[in-house]
Amino acid sequence: MRSILLYISLVGLPIAGMVVALQLGQGLAAPASVAGVWRVELVEPAGGIQRCNEATAPALPSLQIIQSGRRIAISVGEEKKIAAVGELREATLTAAGDSLQVNARLHRDGDRTRLQGFISLRVCGNPAEMEFHASLAPKRETEIH
């Protein structure tokens, strides 16, 4: 009898607790997903970029966003080094680093695969702010291997 009581209290109760926790947790909300590789298109180079010749103009093929909840870390292209860190508040994303600043919003019509805003990075040694649009690249195979 003691064994049964012990088993119920040490095994049965936690299992019941897990069932309740799973039910209650359905109401929780997590931040919108922005993780992935974003293909960037500059709308119109501005500021310092126009003073540079084409060869030195920045190539900005993609931004990789690593997301952990609200926290955002951004790296440029295939670079592993994190260029800027910041956060996502509702649909607004802000991140800053030594050489990169991003201030953007998810698309107004609720399309979460499109981002628009301003990006600031060093061009010819000077900070230059540019307007950009970005679209989320299709996810690579997420399987293990």
Binding site: L10, P14, A21, L28, S33, I66, G69, K80, E143, I144
Partner: protein, 421 residues
């Protein structure tokens, strides 16, 4: 540099770093595997990528990582087969209802606490692409894992395998592994069902149940007969090992196709292999060469995905401390309370709690799966990797403190406490 040259350089560097760290850990009376785990992290962005980014980028260019990852996955497949091979249902049967209670409690209490933790962490470290159910179940599993193989090595190295405490811990860890992998297969099926596997959840689960039944009732006796026949014909373990690996890889292909992950198939075949001590020991020794070479690659592949920079501020370190505290409280506390209420002494109960709290490599395998299928974020992955390291690292010194050799030597030898390591 050609792809093969880069791969050779990578393997050389990884083996060198693992060897050095393994040697250092041995000096501090820690299992070599902890050194290998640390070496993997040191080679990633957390240290090498931070102090020498140019060298790190040249040694581990993103385009080369697929080869390294594939090689390491083959190593993990072989390793999971060996883990299954070392499991022996007799271990649990011989220990009666106490082992049953401890093993069940050391799963349910950490799993429950893991789910409570999920309440707090889901809005903070997840995103709305991940369903709460998947996140909570995964966190529950990652809290309840025990590293059966690392535990077996700790017990052997400290001469505890034949004590009642050691035998009880290894029996419970064996059961925990089977439970954790079964639960993980369900979670992977849940996440992959539909868009990733092209199958519904129930098709995956029913298909998997059908395959497991087939393996238990047809494949297991067939394997036993074939191996006996080969042994009668004079085949040594060198000839039998490739056959066993062939079956394990075939099974891995089937479970991968069913959407519950290749590792489960390899583990299943290992668990269904005949359990004669000599056979298990010689086959394990034969395959150890493969895992010795390929496991450090897995640790390096894990280290390359672990970035301490993502756990950079006080808030993130608070989450990290919370995860570690919950993991220890659940596993150590759960196992200790169960052992104590079953009539064991405080010291023995504490020792069982410490041993069951060892997570090691098994946790890293589970975490990599979670990151691959997108259930956990890179920062949470890093936090959980740190938790695995800390809980594995603390086992040795704490067991020495609570259950020193002078006390364990006084205990009569336990019955049925045999495992090939």
């Amino acid at each position: 540099m050609s792809k093969i040259a880069i791969l050779i350089m990578q393997i050389g560097t990884i083996l060198l770093a693992s060897g050095i760290m393994g040697w250092i850990c041995k000096r501090f009376h820690q299992p070599r595997v902890i050194g290998e785990m640390l070496a993997g992290i040191l080679l990633g962005p957390s240290l090498l990528g931070w102090v020498a980014p140019g060298f790190s980028a040249a040694l581990f260019p993103p385009s080369s990582l697929a080869s390294l990852s594939s090689l390491s996955q083959v190593g993990i497949l072989v390793y999971m087969f060996v883990v299954g091979l070392e499991l022996n249902p007799r271990l649990l049967r011989d220990r009666g209802h106490t082992a049953l209670l401890i093993s069940h409690t050391s799963i349910t209490i950490p799993a429950f606490l893991g789910m409570l933790l999920a309440f707090y962490l889901y809005p903070r470290l997840s995103n709305d692409n991940v369903r709460f159910t998947h996140f909570a179940l995964f966190l529950a599993i990652s809290m309840s894992v025990t590293a059966f193989p690392v535990l077996a090595r700790i017990l052997t190295e400290r001469g505890l395998m034949r004590t009642e405490v050691g035998a009880m811990a290894i029996a419970c860890a064996a059961f925990d592994d089977v439970s954790a992998w079964s639960l993980l297969a369900i979670v992977v099926a849940l996440v992959r069902s539909g868009h990733l596997s092209g199958m519904s959840f129930w098709t995956q689960i029913l298909g998997s149940l059908a395959y497991v039944s087939l393996a238990i009732f047809l494949l297991k006796p067939a394997l036993a007969r074939i191996l006996k026949w080969r042994q009668r014909k004079g085949a040594g373990v060198g000839e039998i090992a490739p056959l066993c690996l062939l079956v394990a890889f075939g099974s891995a292909l089937i479970t991968e196709g069913l959407g519950i992950h290749a590792l489960f198939g390899a583990f299943l075949i290992g668990a269904l292999m005949p359990k004669e001590r000599e056979f298990v020991q010689s086959l394990t020794e034969r395959l150890e060469g493969v895992t010795l070479l390929l496991l450090p690659l897995f640790f390096a592949a894990t280290g390359l995905r672990t970035s301490i920079a993502l756990v950079s501020d006080a808030e993130m370190w608070f989450y990290c401390a919370l995860v570690v505290a919950v993991a220890i409280l659940g596993k150590f506390g759960g196992a200790m309370i169960a052992a104590r209420t079953s009539g064991m002494g405080w010291r023995e109960s504490g020792a069982i709690g410490i041993l069951m709290n060892t997570r090691g490599l098994m946790e890293l395998i589970v975490l990599n799966i979670g990151l691959d299928i997108g259930i956990i974020s890179p920062a949470l992955f890093t936090i959980l990797v740190l938790m695995a390291l800390i809980t594995t690292f603390m086992a040795g010194p704490l067991i020495e403190l609570i259950y020193p050799k002078r006390i364990s030597d006084r205990e009569p030898a336990a019955v049925g406490a045999e495992v090939a390591v």
